[in-house]
Symmetry: C2
Subunit: 265 residues, 2 copies
């Protein structure tokens, strides 16, 4: 599955896609399941009259949301991007929406051209759950020490081998070294937001980082355990995987990330 | 149904309640329907072992949400407020939550003592619907002129006869004059928030005001039509009722509202 250009007579399209992953079995096609890819391919076919394979910047797991997933596909349609956006949206269920359609250069590849990604994870940290964020936040009723979570996050930022923070290292082809440019923890009232951006992420890496940070916030682990875990390079029961419903694929970058930009908090 | 004190051996409780009204048939008990009142009375009985009638600050319609509805009820329970809050929440479905329980003076009445209310109405104004606000905002795909909506809102603020802005004037006992202290229209990106506060509201008044403001924003009516409608004192087809899912009962005030506080935008 290498890079290729749109075949003659076909146009390559790039689209930004938002989805509420609550009732969906993740992005990728799976026999007998309703996935984002299935819904998109069915809607594009209904809108254009021809089948298009949909390629995302990367998969998202069952129950994970996207504010701006990026996909590409080739189509023989003559529709202009705004028209295609309306036509595809008319065939999508309301939990999935194209928010933008563009005609990139003909070799644009949603996955291979991605230079970085940002995920956000939301925690509702209050003794009482919020009725309105049940499907978009992780409800943690015990008190979390955000200052401790920030100290742990600071130790995780930068370039490290994150083998201890992936659910299945064997699923990750090649190196488990990643450059975590940003890992921030902010609180506004009962809502804690964890923002992670990197050149790329391992399988379930963000949910593993969040699972670890929650344990630190709860006082069950210390910020310094981040060092020990990074050094261990092996998954450990001290790193739980945070639940899917709090996770959003927030942004995908294409093109060079300014090297002048220092690692952020 | 007059004001009364808690009977001997009973304690009066006040609670703030948040609910996602999406799957609920409004607040009030109705044969064969799942309502907020039914869920609360069942949960309180399960938590305390005795039946308590629940009295709200006012009803909300089917599909309408509450960030902070206020209720009162009497119970023979010996539980302290924080304990009662946890016990009742443990028996409520996740779309309804007590967010605070208190012991007010024994004659406190959620409806008769309310001195004012604030509602907020949310509109998602963008050509593409947002997958995450389908059940909490009204999706309006055509462009809305917020400046025109504000001019109309300014004419509606203050003390007026709002008979043209209620769904069924006969359902409103007594005067249809209300003092609309605040009616503001703000926009942040695609999200328009309409905030309305008053000493009291007529039946479906907020959704009627929003329905009218949307028509002004869409250019189908002019701000000055507000004057004509107020003067007409009769419901008119020019005032549609905005859908329930965008409406939140946001706050209920008890005690005097400072008379120094001028009408706000």
């Amino acid at each position: 599955m290498g890079r290729d250009a749109a075949p003659p007579g076909f146009t390559r399209f790039r689209a930004d896609v938002a989805y509420d992953g609550t009732g969906l079995a993740g992005f990728q096609l799976q026999p007998g399941k309703t996935t984002v890819q299935l819904r998109l391919e069915v809607a594009i076919q209904a809108a254009t009259g021809g089948f298009s394979r949909v390629h995302p910047s990367g998969r998202t797991d069952s129950g994970v949301h996207a504010r701006a997933q990026v996909i590409h596909f080739d189509s023989a349609t003559r529709m202009a991007p705004p028209q295609l956006l309306r036509a595809v949206n008319a065939h999508l269920p309301p939990e999935i929406r194209l928010t933008r359609v563009a005609r990139p250069r003909t070799e644009f590849h949603a996955r291979f051209d991605a230079s970085g990604k940002e995920y956000r994870y939301f925690i509702w940290n209050d003794p009482v759950q919020d009725p309105f964020t049940r499907t978009t936040q992780w409800f943690v009723p015990w008190a979390l020490d955000v200052a401790a979570m920030r100290r742990a996050a600071a130790l995780l930022r930068g370039e490290h081998d994150f083998a201890s923070f992936t659910a299945n290292a064997r699923r990750d082809v090649g190196s488990t070294v990643r450059h975590l440019r940003r890992l921030s923890v902010t609180r506004e009232g009962p809502e804690i937001t964890i923002t992670a951006s990197a050149d790329g992420f391992l399988y379930k890496m963000v949910r593993s980082l969040v699972g670890f940070l929650e344990r630190v916030g709860a006082g069950k682990l210390t910020p310094n355990d981040a060092r020990l875990l990074l050094d261990a390079r092996e998954r450990n029961r001290q790193v739980p995987t945070a639940p899917a419903q709090g996770l959003f694929l927030w942004k995908v970058w294409y093109g060079a990330i300014s090297s002048a930009r220092a690692d952020e908090e």
